[in-house]
């Protein structure tokens, strides 16, 4: 049976104790099961089992129209909200030749970056919870509530707003949007030094994460890792710069990269990404016209034929979608490329040889979200 993979005894390792870090564990990353073999405190085998959240996204989407597919994809990387909708929207816009007005592109990019900040805040709270500090979790969730309030006023729903659509966005921005976002950015910039003190400059966090779980550049590229994990290992690949989309060609931002490849580098890279997102948002707040078109013209019944792969830079890495249309209004096949799915492949590499608490720190730095992994 497939659920016993990894539990086979190995000759010569009679001291090994096999523990099951089961689908329910308080590290709140979701339903991951890792079969860990421990010799004392050192890990000698690590076999991850996924699939506990397999919800048949791709099969169900074969019987939904393209307009119905978009809110469905929201549920994949549920921490990042609208970021999941963008690959499908871009692919279908390419295949159907739908024009997107400039202002709509900027609105989409603003929401994209707002959700990146929200996702990194969740990551920070839960990563510190894994390391033992119970307080930053509440601070970051309070900041996330502010973002969700802004999203809710515009899009209608907090966490999974069905906001992007083919040609732009569904609704115009609410009247106080620019003021709200500017206030939030000021508030966040006042809080970030506190977060740096609590997280990045904390000697206990240093002791737990520096030098722990080093992922080399070659290994990262070989495993298909993307996102902050890849950039922390030294490869400066970001889909926003490599294959730009929406309003990214018009904003200036940098890609934080680190050469260390350890868990602390992954923490650091995500922090810097929050700063870069704040920078992008400030530029966009000035550039976006306050009135104007928010949606291009798209036919009511959308008939797509052809194949297309589009990818975006999710909070976790490269989230891609491969749309195959056969001329009807429902897709023939949609394949999602989950960012965190490829990132999880490094678990055996990083866990084996590390101590058990290091494994928790490493897992929290890989930041898996199981909606995206199991789809």
């Amino acid at each position: 049976m497939s659920s016993t993979i990894g539990l086979e005894p190995v000759l010569g390792r009679s001291d090994e104790m096999i523990v099951n870090m089961g689908p329910q564990h308080p590290a709140t990353h979701g339903v991951l099961r890792v079969v860990i073999g421990l010799e004392g405190e050192r890990i000698t085998r690590a076999v991850p089992h996924i699939g506990y959240l397999h919800r048949n996204h791709e099969k169900i989407e074969e019987s939904r129209t393209y307009f119905q597919v978009v809110p469905f994809t929201d549920r994949m990387d549920y921490v990042s909200g609208t970021q999941n909708e963008l690959p499908v929207v871009l692919a279908v816009e390419d295949l159907a030749g739908i024009e997107v007005p400039e202002r709509a592109k900027m609105i989409r990019t603003m929401f994209f970056e707002l959700f990146r900040i929200a996702s990194h805040l969740v990551w920070m709270g839960t990563a510190m919870l894994d390391l033992g500090a119970i307080t930053p979790f509440l601070y970051t969730f309070w900041d996330r509530e502010i973002i969700l309030g802004i999203v809710e006023r515009t899009a209608g729903a907090r966490m999974l707003p069905n906001y992007y659509t083919f040609g732009g966005v569904r609704r115009d921005l609410h009247p106080h949007f620019f003021k709200d976002v500017a206030e939030f950015l000021d508030h966040l910039e006042k809080r970030m030094p506190d977060y740096e003190h609590l997280v990045l400059e904390n000697p206990i966090v240093h002791a737990r994460t520096v030098g722990v779980g080093v992922l080399s550049k070659e290994r990262a590229v070989a495993r298909g890792v993307s996102g902050p994990v890849l950039r922390a290992s030294g490869v400066a690949y970001d889909v926003r710069k490599a294959f730009p989309y929406d309003a990214y060609p018009e904003v200036e931002f940098e890609i934080p990269t680190s050469d260390a490849g350890d868990t602390y580098a992954r923490f650091w890279v995500r922090f810097q990404e929050i700063y870069q997102s704040v920078k992008i948002l400030r530029q966009l707040l000035e550039k976006t016209p306050k009135t104007g078109p928010f949606k291009g013209r798209a036919p009511a019944r959308l008939k797509i034929s052809g194949e297309r792969y589009r990818a975006v830079e999710n909070s976790r890495g490269e989230l891609g979608v491969y749309v195959v249309g056969d001329g009807g209004d429902k897709p023939y096949r949609i394949k999602h490329r989950g960012a965190a799915f490829s990132n999880l492949q490094v678990i055996p590499d990083l866990f084996i040889g590390a101590k058990f608490s290091d494994a928790i720190a490493i897992l929290s730095s890989l930041d898996p979200v199981f909606g995206e992994i199991d789809r």
């Binding site: 497939s2 506990y52 959240l53 549920r75 921490v79």
Partner: protein, 184 residues
């Protein structure tokens, strides 16, 4: 749930008052189990954040099922997880309650037509409170927790225990053994 697991409130004054008191205490100090599955788990975590703080009502998370009272099933349950969920429910100590949070846990949600999704967690465990929403707001989860609190301390309602809904297939079978999914 009676004092000694009884099915109705004791008639005499002393035992009856004791029963009321113990159930009052149980309702005011419900400890949920950390079992977040999917998107609703994030909203569940958001219920304990400073905006809507469920810790005001004495609820804080316990990580082990032995010490938890309430299992908040937040997210889609699929057939692979069904067996583990039932096992967790069995490991909880009596008295225990289940809150089914979100559309997926109520009846399968947007994923109802999938081949691997169980259409609602009440086919696996008996559910006391259902919360609609996808995902429900933190305030909705708080309302459900308060509803459960009132249900536990209510004189007649606390003795009415729900049951699981029967299914026409075996929810707990491993893939390939339940006769519905062919092994590839």
């Amino acid at each position: 749930m009676g004092l000694l697991g009884s099915d109705e409130r004791p008639r005499d004054i002393i035992l009856g008052t004791l029963d009321d008191l113990i159930n009052l205490a149980r309702s005011r100090s419900m400890w949920p189990l950390t079992f977040g599955i999917a998107c609703c788990a994030i909203e569940m975590m958001a219920t304990w954040d400073p905006k809507v703080d469920a810790d005001r009502f004495g609820m804080f998370f316990r990580n082990t099922p032995r010490q938890a009272d309430v299992m908040i099933v937040s997210g889609t349950v699929n057939k692979k997880l069904a067996k583990r969920l039932r096992r967790l429910y069995d490991q909880m100590a009596e008295p225990k309650w289940v809150i089914s949070m979100g559309a997926c846990a109520n009846q399968g949600g947007p994923f109802r037509h999938g081949y691997s999704v169980v259409e609602g967690v009440d086919k696996i465990v008996p559910v006391d409170v259902y919360i609609p929403g996808c995902p429900p707001r933190p305030e909705a989860l708080l309302q459900a927790l308060l509803l459960l609190r009132d249900k536990i301390s209510d004189r007649e309602l606390r003795y009415k225990r729900p049951q699981e809904i029967a299914t026409d297939y075996d929810v707990f079978a491993e893939p390939g053994e339940d006769g519905r999914i062919p092994v590839l």
